[in-house]
């Protein structure tokens, strides 16, 4: 037992340790603040360390190796800059992202979807990078697609650098199409054809289903929005009120209900969210589902064991056979508001190197080909003008995928359409609608749409 005489000494020691600890913390905090010096040139910042989001996970071994190789090359060329990769999968998880924004704990360079800008600004977490980005710091900056730049800009202030754009199509399993006696070069374009083909594929049995759809994790509402856009409807009207309770949405939901309960071409297991359908597709158990083409080369092939030659993409289904549009979105890398000017400069330099230079980083097609990963998927262009032409030329030189597998998707030239206000809340509401259609044999589609429209209008009124 400690004698009473020793207690004060012990307390003094504890207090000294505490004070010293606080002192160190304070010094650490103050050093990060005091290093802010907006005027310092990029070359003269001294040692800088930045954490960067979206390092590919270990489950995507080849992409991870490529990313790490980029980091090593970059650090060798810029010995004063140290990159700490942050690998989370998926790169952005809604719940974690929201919590990080609230706590201010995002990486120095963090991922956001185009639709996240308002949330990021509401949280006050993005640094203004307007003065840091130009054609010198980001070669080809003025060629970046205007729609992508609009998504990362508020007023005239730039908050992020866009790194990818998507529109959605209908991913098909060509192998199952062939086994079912269907023509994989002609993916279905109307909902009636989707129903017919899904039924033929499901008839193969052995746990194979023709069509898959999400109805959880806000992904059901997300897909519903894209399907309504493609079918000529709109989610929110010009008056700012929900406008989806109309014929286009009814037709989409009727088709899903038909496939699930009449044709039996959809699995009885629903409540699926992002990642579930990719696994089914990779395992050869699913004929069709809606996604951006990058699902094939980012998830199904490298992670879920699919063979790239087994997949193709058609346009989004619609009643007319010509999609009126597609939900469009994209990825961007933003900069933490706590970043010092030196960190922003280093971050911009790294993002330009690894994400926005044709022939380098994510656009190093020769390396992607050498690593056995597919090259040449059709996607909306990140750039316009000369930079776009250069990138397309490099992509064509290393092309590995058969463009015929995507011809109908490319030919459809889907018009990208933005996401609704308070998108995640709207999607969450519509998840329930999708799930009811997919799990209730007696679902009253008209009533479900009416209820969902009322609920979304309440959300939109509260969001304003």
């Amino acid at each position: 037992m400690m004698s009473p005489a020793r207690r004060p000494a012990a307390r003094k020691i504890a207090a000294a340790v505490l004070v010293a600890g606080l002192g160190v913390s304070a010094a650490a905090c103050s050093s990060s603040k005091s290093s802010k010096d907006a005027a310092a040139p990029a070359g003269g910042d001294g040692p800088v360390t930045i954490s960067v989001a979206c390092e590919p996970p270990t489950s995507q071994a080849k992409q991870r190796a490529e990313w790490l190789q980029d980091v090593a090359t970059f650090e060798k060329a810029n010995p004063d800059i140290t990159i700490h990769g942050v690998d989370t999968y998926p790169c952005e998880n809604t719940a974690t992202f929201t919590a990080q924004l609230k706590a201010g704990t995002e990486p120095d360079v963090f991922h956001m979807y185009f639709t996240d800008l308002n949330q990021v600004l509401d949280a006050g977490q993005a640094a203004d990078i307007t003065s840091y980005v130009n054609d010198t710091t980001v070669p080809g900056f003025s060629d970046l697609a205007p729609s992508a730049m609009a998504a990362v800009t508020a007023g005239k202030t730039v908050y992020a650098l866009p790194t990818g754009i998507y529109t959605q199509g209908l991913i098909i399993n060509r192998k199952l199409f062939q086994q079912a006696g269907l023509n994989p070069d002609q993916p279905p374009t109307t909902w009636a054809d989707v129903e017919k083909d899904a039924k033929a594929i499901a008839a193969l049995g052995n746990g194979i289903y023709g069509y898959g759809e999400y109805s959880a994790g806000n992904n059901g509402g997300w897909h519903f929005s894209s399907e309504v856009d493609a079918n000529g409807g709109q989610m929110v009207g010009g008056d700012g009120k929900a406008a989806f309770d109309a014929q286009p949405a009814t037709e989409v939901l009727q088709a899903l209900h038909q496939m699930r309960f009449v044709d039996g071409s959809m699995s009885p297991t629903q409540q699926l969210k992002w990642g579930d359908l990719q696994k089914q597709m990779g395992a050869g158990k699913l004929g069709m589902y809606i996604a951006a083409p990058d699902d094939i080369y980012n998830v199904i092939v490298p992670q879920d064991g699919g063979n790239v030659d087994d997949y193709g993409v058609g346009p989004l289904p619609s009643t007319s056979g010509t999609p009126a549009g597609s939900l469009s979105g994209g990825d961007a890398l933003a900069f933490n508001k706590h970043d010092t000017p030196a960190q922003i400069r280093a971050g911009v330099k790294f993002v330009a190197f690894s994400e926005l230079t044709p022939g380098q980083g994510q656009f190093n097609y020769a390396r992607t080909k050498a690593d056995g990963l597919p090259v040449g998927f059709p996607e909306p262009l990140d750039w316009v003008g000369a930079t776009s032409a250069k990138n397309e030329q490099l992509k064509a030189a290393s092309q590995t995928v058969d463009t015929a597998h995507f011809k109908t998707f490319v030919d459809a030239q889907e018009k990208g359409m933005g996401e609704p206000t308070d998108a995640q809340a709207v999607y969450k509401t519509l998840d329930a609608t999708m799930l009811s259609v997919l799990q209730d044999p007696n679902a009253d589609i008209s009533s479900l749409l009416k209820t969902a429209q009322t609920q979304v209008n309440t959300l939109l009124a509260n969001a304003s």
Binding site: A216, G217, D440
Partner: protein
Amino acid sequence: MAEQVLSRPGRRDPGRARGGSGGRPAAGPDGGPNGRFLRTLRRHLAAHGFLIGAVLCFAMFSWYPMIREIIMSFQQTHRDKITRQPKTTWAGLQNYTRIIHDPTFAQAWKNTVEFSLLALLIGFAVPFVTAIILNELRHARGYLRILVYLPVMLPPASALLLFQYFYDPNYGLFDHLLRMLHLPTSQFVQSSSSALVSVTVASTWMNMGGTTLIYLAALQNIPGELYEAAELDGAGILGRIRHVTIPQTRLILSMMLMLQIVGTMQLFIEPFILTNGGAGPNNSTVSVVNLIYQYAFNLSGSSNYNSASALGVLLMLVLGVFSAGYLWLSRDRD
């Protein structure tokens, strides 16, 4: 003399123990309030020292978040249109109005109350009956006790992923067994009519081990003579349970009842994992805590933390009123 008595550690001043000053002088170098405070502090220094860690933990991780939650429930955060910076303002009862008008609000409370009732029917009765059976067994009691307790050792997420597989209507174990027995299959968590019951069954399986052991401990404390006397009076098994077991375990039963209600009202992880997010078909499994989570983390609009806080405060009030009522009733009875 009084000073000497007071200065001795471990002795209490009878007058002060009753809350009075015992006629001691009101002021003075040693006898004044400051002196008394210092002496009391010195006497309890070790106890206070030991308490500091716990108090700090509670303050940081329980009390501060509670107070912050209450404050946030009356605030809203918006981006200033001119400065483009987030701005927090007092919003009165707007967050409460907003959540009450959410169509999911009533459904979440309905589901939570329904789950609590189901959990009382299944989750309260099953462990009690299991404990009685275990108590009556003469052989292999230890092994069976371990078997009953095993699910508690599984991390909840793993146990629920296991049930997600069991419940799968496509390749799940339960439907497979039902098909083998030529019985009608079920959609389990995929159907609005069976989702909540399925969640309750999984929850009971996960949690009954601990409760069963507590009941078993209570049962083993019942003197055997009481059962012998009941048997001599002609009581059968049900009679012994009714007239001996239940009255003898009343205190434990009522305490577990309160804990179970408080626990079940905070239903979250079971529907969250079993239904891939917590809502379930037709929102049939969305609970109040699931809704709090959705407000806070799944929605992109502004002020969602404030809505989540408002709903959290409402839940806290409901549970607070229930717990206070229970404590008041049980104090009277005991």
